[in-house]
Amino acid sequence: DAGITQSPRHKVTETGTPVTLRCHQTENHRYMYWYRQDPGHGLRLIHYSYGVKDTDKGEVSDGYSVSRSKTEDFLLTLESATSSQTSVYFCAISETEGTDTQYFGPGTRLTVL
């Protein structure tokens, strides 16, 4: 299994509070991704990174920001959490671009009350 960890694995927070989710990899892969998974929607890309300090938006980026200061860490921040951001969040990594296998972390279940 690819070395990907996500923290925390579960979090309950209140509307309006900031939340940061962390993805850590030990594979030295260049590309990292944040997805959210919701029933009926499959996985939707929030943000991705193609190198240290190089990030871009995905299809559902509103309300989210990311940072990548080191190859191994990719942070997802909800500046002011809303109930619509209750979801399961997955981090993924890949060695090369969109034609390559993506390896997924175990997920973080976030509940915003």
Binding site: Y31, L43, L45, E97, G98, T99, F104
Partner: protein, 113 residues
Amino acid sequence: AQSVTQPDIHITVSEGASLELRCNYSYGATPYLFWYVQSPGQGLQLLLKYFSGDTLVQGIKGFEAEFKRSQSSFNLRKPSVHWSDAAEYFCAVGARNTYKYIFGTGTRLKVLA
């Protein structure tokens, strides 16, 4: 528009029966096709992928998929399902010069003993 369609939200089969999960895609570029499996509470794991060459692709756990360009399909098959195959299955498509996949909405498989 680029899209991936998995027409079956739920499928139920008996243990030992054959299985086919459908995936249709609409993609302007040459597609790179993937099937992933997600067990409850877990991240996604790659079953198989198609880039080029032989249109029948073998994967892990006894799964195979056939790429049919004329039908824009990449259906997943297994000749004899085991109870441990109960999970959610996702089809995804990627392409060169893009950083991201497009995922289908998933098919949840239930296996009857």
